[in-house]
């Protein structure tokens, strides 16, 4: 384990908006991106015009604009969270099979999803608690997890009870196997993959302090 101070980039944990800003900054110019429902939606607030990012919504659109307000609201123009949105110049509409072909065919550069748990090798659990009596609902989560070139997760590192959501093996039902490449949390950014978990940067803690919280071995990213 290398020294932790080299990767601490913030003196305090990141709030949801700061985290969204960080994810937005990490998206390469010209990318095609799908932002999941909930926290990932915040990322759109921080994408710049210069980045020229095209947003996809799985209910049949590329070139989605910001949430619709007032007179802009049109019941025929909604996103996957069923929120009224707007269309940007150069948008395109298509039917559901064509829309999921975009996702499943590996054409999206990045999707950003929330999660209950991510395993050390990038397994994702984000659709179902598996609790007895819970009604399961999956939507497009499995298609996004399996189809995008890169799957970014945004979540708090710890549950309300203080348990790490980065785990050796997911205890919640899986959404996809080995699909997550990067995890953005309030305390650190993790890179996940077949070789385990690398910490790219920490926020308000050292790598040693982070390791205390996370039950899988953490490596520090080598300076590049």
């Amino acid at each position: 384990m290398s020294t932790a101070t080299s990767i601490q980039t913030s003196a305090t944990p990141l709030g949801r908006d700061d985290l969204a800003r960080l994810v937005a900054r990490d998206i390469a110019p010209g990318s095609f991106v799908n932002l999941g429902i909930g926290q990932p939606t915040l990322v759109s607030n921080y994408l710049t015009e210069e980045q020229n990012i095209t947003l996809h919504t799985e209910n049949g659109m590329l070139g989605m604009g910001p949430e619709a307000k007032g007179d802009e609201i049109d019941g025929d123009l909604i996103n996957a969270g069923k929120i009224p949105v707007t269309e940007l110049p150069g948008a395109a509409y298509f039917h559901h099979a064509d829309s999921f072909a975009i996702m499943r065919g590996g054409h999206l550069d990045i999707c950003v999803l929330g999660a209950f748990q991510v395993s050390a090798t990038g397994d994702l659990a984000n659709w179902h608690t598996g609790a007895p009596g819970a009604i399961p609902a999956v939507g497009g989560a499995m298609d996004l997890a399996t189809g995008a070139k890169d799957v970014f997760v945004m979540m708090t590192l710890l549950t309300r009870e203080g348990a790490s959501k980065i785990v050796e093996a997911c205890t919640y039902p899986l959404t996809g196997v080995g699909c997550v490449t990067r995890v953005y949390t309030d305390k650190a950014v993790f890179l996940t993959g077949p070789d385990g978990v690398t910490v790219r940067e920490t926020f308000g803690c050292t790598l040693e302090e982070l390791q205390e919280l996370v039950p899988v071995p953490l490596k520090a990213a080598t300076a590049s």
Partner: protein, 227 residues
């Protein structure tokens, strides 16, 4: 054969007990509310319904479920804040649920229309939704075998139809309409407007009339804003 009918009642009259019925729409966009209401009134029961969701609030599909007319739901996202009628039936063990990832749902519907006997997809591999299904490794990726979803009837909403039954849709209300039209033996469409044959540009037709059987005009049935 293509029929233009004058009422939603007439449009759904042929739906029989025990039918598999696809219903278009994602959220409210593209939901054929008036056709669903007519299906409610026509009395057909023991239905298998294919829709992305399992009804919301106290209207449309939710009411069909409440009244015990739906034997089985095939959908991707039944649980919502206002899906109380489905929730109650499900917890009481009075409705069957086939939960399908949304992309598999779309692709299985598309496969039915396109004459595909089944396909392998990575979506769902290694999850509980693949349990009991055939799997194989293709090009190094685990994949699950999925089968087509056919239907007796599709109820969908479009913006305009011409005299040949060609359809165009509006914005994200397009969603499941085109693939359900192709997957059903009999496709019933509610449209805001019927235009003369030749008034739609052949380059822009989304659903060719070959997939359409019954058309009924329902005034103001889209969310289209008045310009």
């Amino acid at each position: 054969m293509l029929n233009f009918v004058d009422s939603v009642q007439e449009a759904v009259a042929r739906i029989k007990d025990g039918s598999t019925v696809m219903i278009g729409g994602f959220g409210n966009a593209g939901q054929p509310f008036e056709l669903i209401d007519a299906l409610m009134d026509c009395g057909a029961t023991d239905l298998t319904v294919v829709n992305n969701n399992a009804g919301q609030g106290d209207q449309g599909l939710a009411l069909l479920i409440k009244e015990g007319r739906v034997r089985k739901m095939i959908c991707s996202f039944p649980r919502q804040s206002d899906s109380w009628h489905f929730d109650a039936k499900y917890k009481a063990g009075e409705i069957e649920l086939e939960l399908v990832p949304q992309g598999n749902l779309a692709e299985r519907i598309r496969a039915a229309g396109a004459g595909i006997g089944g396909f392998f997809t990575p979506t769902g591999y290694g999850t509980m939704l693949a349990e009991g299904k055939e799997t194989r490794i293709i090009d190094g990726r685990g994949q699950v075998f999925e089968t087509p979803i056919h239907a007796d009837v599709a109820l969908i909403k479009a913006l305009k139809a011409d005299g040949k039954g060609n359809l165009v849709y509006r914005k994200t209300a397009r969603n499941f309409g085109p693939i359900m039209a192709a997957a059903a033996k009999h496709t019933i469409v509610q449209v805001s407007e019927v235009v003369p044959t030749g008034a739609l540009d052949p380059e822009n037709i989304v659903t060719p009339g070959i997939y359409v059987n019954t058309i009924v005009r329902v005034a103001g049935s889209t969310a289209e804003k008045v310009a």
